[in-house]
Amino acid sequence: MTLDTPLDTPRAAATEGEWKAICALTDIPRLGARVVASRHGDIAIFRTAADEVFAIHDKCPHKGGPLSQGIVHGREVTCPLHGWKLALDSGEALAPDVGCSKPFAVKLVAGQVLLRS
């Protein structure tokens, strides 16, 4: 298992801020998520089956559903309110739906989840 997987998407890298430890990887269930309250509002941090972590704004672009409460599969999450699917890396809704939930930079260092906000 790689413990250091920076996942700066170009979009997220452009935002200001510093890395901040949030929780241990094991505090997030596999194929699950945790909610982080931040100055940007709630952010959902996801953990995939392969122990990758992703962070996007915890609001579905459709009707604001809490994505953190959805079902995670592959590198996607299905919104619990109306079943929209979003890509965890980019926050983009999967076709044929259109919309985006803002992604945040997140990485794993020594089993700790670091978020840049």
Binding site: K20, I22, C23, D27, P29, R30, L31, G32, A33, R34, V35, V36, A37, S38, R39, D42, I43, I45, T48, A49, K63, G64, G65, P66, Q69, G70, I71, V72, H73, G74, E76, T78, P80, L81, H82, G83, K85, P96, L115, S117
Partner: protein
């Protein structure tokens, strides 16, 4: 690994559909090359009739434009006719109109060369102005002729002939339809329906010459005749002649198998000609070569409608993708005439035959004719004229082989009749798809109107219900409009629509397997985890999706209780959080009140909790309980702890409520102690997960104050015992429960109820309510196992008790130690 080469000969609907299916399954397996004789991309041949009629344009019926081929890295040789297959060197050789030659090598070859119109050997059939009706070129030639000439003759009053005649008439021509048979569309319609159809077409101005044998097509004579002379008249055997500036021959199609035959592939002899293929769509001669579509003869049948071709394509793609699952076993087909304003539908053995009986409804004045042919209480064919709204329903019943004994007396009144009788909600107007205005709302959940659906179907080339759901969201929430959406789909794409039987439908896009197949594999191979199950059944996605994972989780825990481990991440949030998610992301909490009974102490605690956690709404539910709405996620464990009551499972695919009346305990009419019965049932079923939510009700007398008639199980006390009803539903579609049996003692009520629910738990598909389950398997099946077979009933009862034994209340478990454990639960919010 080097990619294999796949060559497709024939750029039509069947071949390209196969490629589409293949690209979904194995996008990177092949380098694909396509040869098409026509100089276009792939278009929807079925919609040529609306183009001819001026209702649609050519660009509107394109299915895949050139960009699609580019996007998928497919090499398209349009306008090149394959002239030779060299099976030794595994190459195909094609020629263009300018004589240039193209070659391509293949590892797998797919033939989809379609068919050509059959032009009978009538003298004069080579004259200019004599056409078959098959492709864009024919359609354009007809449109052009309609602009210049007056008299058109269509030979053949089948589906295609009538559509051609209608189109030409709408373009201003004087059209006569010549037919050899006694009545029109004799292969699809009986005489009564055909006569009605003929009258309404005559009312539009179409002329008919029935039982006429065409002797010759004669060239035009006299002034202004072009050279070479164009067709000018049609002469019949009886000597009669009629003027004809355009003759469209629609006398059937012949499979295009010359190329295959020249390559030594077996193409039959005698009556059934066509490229002979096996159930895997491989040619019987050469397993490297596959064939689909109208060029094919499968089990002695060559199909000329699009739905079977799509079924073939699906199976073929599966084998090309090396999945090796699925066999094509032939299709049952149905027909619809695409002439605006006229509704005709036929399917199966509409003419009847030995051992069949028929039900006919004939309203000559009202222009409605319905005929349903039955054999052994199952539909084997039907013809509908004037009101075809129920066509797809009859067709589905027919394909499913559904026993219609129970609904026989209302069969002719259609699908919506039974439900409109019951104060149907959210369903009004089902089966009226064709006559609905575009602005009419179809899907009440997602606010989708008919126009949006029709537009998406046409513009995006959608053919299946799933595609429509995906693109428009219609029918993707509660599903009550599914029937209506299917109707719209059927009336928009006509014969191309293939209703998928619920029995065979794949669970989701992650697998080809149906719910039944998945259940069986889990049982037979003792699969205990989702990872084992998806690996064993070769799931196409790593972790499945939000549709299949909850289903798999249910099948595992219900098939192997106490052995398969429940996976919370494969449950919908409601079941994971043990509370109902609401639109703003807060939750609602419903404590259990057995049989709807509570105490002053419980009420006090509920009131205190509502105040302490500032819960904005406190509501009495329809199931005799109290709902606390607007609880924040972080507060859930504390709310549960302070309530000190068990979870009401108001969120789960599980036992919900047992509603009761006050019964003999208090009521002056009560014959049985319904409250005690309700409490006992609810205690027994606590912790029971099921394919969908389950609700019960117990009434103490036939006044039925607990509304037991619309519950999954309804128990009604009578003086001499208890009546049991099953498979009712008060939700999306109101359904009255069916009488199961009558028992004498409370112990029997418990045993029979448990046995019925266990049967449903073992055989029901995930998200299938008891009403749909019983509809699928038949009440007889349920009676045989639960009522007639005492031993089996006791065994079912025991299995249910075993499954729920030691079930711990999820709220108590999570609230027990909130100081430490709750911090680690997903309920807590982290901070950045």
């Amino acid at each position: 690994m080097k990619k294999l080469n796949l060559v497709l000969v024939g750029n039509g609907m069947a071949g390209v559909r196969t490629l589409e299916e293949l690209l979904k399954l194995a996008p990177d397996l092949y380098d694909i090359t396509v040869f098409g004789a026509e100089p276009h991309g792939n278009y929807n041949r079925i919609l040529l009739s609306p183009v001819l009629a001026g209702e649609m344009t050519l660009p509107e019926i394109m299915l895949n434009d050139l960009a699609w081929y580019r996007e998928h890295g497919i090499t398209l040789h349009a306008g090149r006719t394959v002239t030779k297959i060299d099976r030794v060197r595994r190459r195909v050789i094609a020629e263009a109109a300018d004589g240039s030659v193209t070659e391509a090598g293949y590892d797998r070859l797919l033939l989809a060369t379609g068919s050509t119109p059959f032009i009978p050997p009538i003298p004069g059939n080579e004259l200019p102005g004599v056409l078959g009706y098959r492709d864009i070129a024919d359609t354009e030639a007809m449109i052009e002729a309609a602009a210049r000439y007056r008299h058109a003759v269509v030979i053949g009053a089948g589906l295609l002939g009538l559509e051609a005649a209608n189109g030409l008439m709408l373009r201003g021509m004087d059209v006569s339809v010549v037919h050899l048979g006694e009545w029109i569309m004799e292969r699809q319609l009986d005489r009564a329906a055909a006569d009605m159809l003929q009258s309404s077409l005559e009312a539009k101005g179409m002329k008919f010459l029935l039982a006429r044998h065409t002797e010759a097509l004669l060239p035009a004579r006299g002034e202004g005749v072009e050279t070479p002379a164009r067709v000018g008249a049609v002469r019949f055997k009886d000597g009669m002649e009629i003027p004809a500036d355009l003759v469209v021959v629609a006398a059937g199609i012949r499979p295009n198998y010359a190329l295959a035959e020249a390559a030594g592939l077996y193409c039959g002899s005698g009556r059934v000609r066509g490229i002979h293929v096996s159930d895997t769509l491989q040619t019987v001669t050469d397993p490297r070569i596959y064939a689909v579509g109208e060029c094919v003869a499968h089990r002695g049948v060559a199909y000329g409608l699009v739905a079977p071709l799509f079924e073939q394509g699906k199976v073929c793609a599966n084998h090309l993708a090396n999945f090796g699952i699925g066999q094509y076993r032939g299709s049952v087909t149905s027909t619809k005439l695409k002439v605006t304003g006229i509704d005709v539908f036929s399917a199966g053995e509409f003419a009847g035959g030995p051992g069949t009986e028929e039900i006919v409804l004939h309203d000559k004045q009202g222009g409605v004719y319905k005929r349903v042919v039955l054999r052994d209480d199952r539909i084997v064919g039907s013809v509908l004229y004037g009101d075809t709204a129920d066509g797809s329903w009859y067709f589905q019943l027919m394909k499913d082989g559904q026993d219609i004994h129970a609904i026989r007396d209302q069969l002719m009144f259609g699908h919506s009749f039974g439900s409109t009788q019951l104060g149907d909600t959210g369903h009004k107007g089902e089966n009226r798809a064709a006559s609905m205005p575009d602005s009419a709302e179809v899907c009440g959940c997602n606010g989708v109107c008919k126009g949006t659906i029709v537009k998406a179907i046409k513009e995006k080339g959608l053919f299946t219900l799933d595609e429509v759901k995906q693109h428009t969201k219609a029918a993707s929430s509660c599903g009550s409009c599914t029937g209506l959406v299917e109707q719209i789909l059927a009336s928009t794409v006509g014969g191309a629509y293939q209703a998928v039987s619920a029995h065979d439908k794949a669970v989701c896009a992650c697998t080809e397997l149906s719910h039944g197949q998945v259940r069986r594999a889990i049982r037979e191979h003792k699969l205990l985890t989702i990872a084992d199950a998806t690996a064993f059944m070769e799931w196409k996605t790593p972790d499945g999706c939000a549709t299949c994972r909850p289903a798999l989780n249910y099948y595992l825990v219900s098939t192997w209780p106490h052995e398969a481990k429940d996976d919370p991440q494969s449950r919908f949030i409601n079941e994971r959080a043990h509370a109902n998610i609401q639109k703003d992301g807060t939750f609602s909490v419903v404590p259990r009140m057995l049989g709807g009974i509570t105490t002053p102490d419980e009420l006090r605690r509920i009131a205190d909790v509502a105040e302490k956690y500032r819960i904005p709404t406190v509501k009495v539910t329809g199931g005799q309980r109290i709902d606390l709405l607007g609880v924040r996620r972080e507060d859930l464990p504390k709310v549960w702890k302070d309530l000190g009551m068990a979870s009401g499972h108001a969120y789960g695919k599980s036992i919900r409520t047992v509603k009761t009346c006050v019964g003999a305990e208090h009521c002056r009419f009560g014959t049985q102690r319904s409250m005690a019965m309700g409490v006992d049932l609810e205690k027994m079923l606590f912790g029971m997960w099921s394919p969908h939510k389950v609700k019960l009700a117990v009434s103490g007398c036939p006044r039925n104050c607990a509304e037991a008639g619309i519950k999954d199980i309804g128990v009604i006390g009578v003086d001499s015992g208890w009546e049991l009803y099953v498979a009712g539903n008060g939700g999306i579609k109101t359904e009255v429960a069916q009488f199961l049996c009558k028992v004498a003692t409370p112990e029997e009520v418990m045993e029979y109820s448990a046995a019925f629910l266990q049967l449903y738990r073992e055989e029901g598909f995930y998200l299938e309510r008891t009403v749909h389950y019983v509809h699928r398997v038949g009440l007889e099946h349920v009676k045989k196992r639960v009522v007639e077979d005492a031993e089996n009933r006791r065994a079912l009862h025991q299995r249910l008790l075993y499954a729920v034994q030691d079930y711990a209340d999820p709220w108590a478990a999570r609230a027990a130690d909130d100081a430490e454990a709750a911090l680690k639960t997903p309920f807590e919010t982290l901070h950045a």
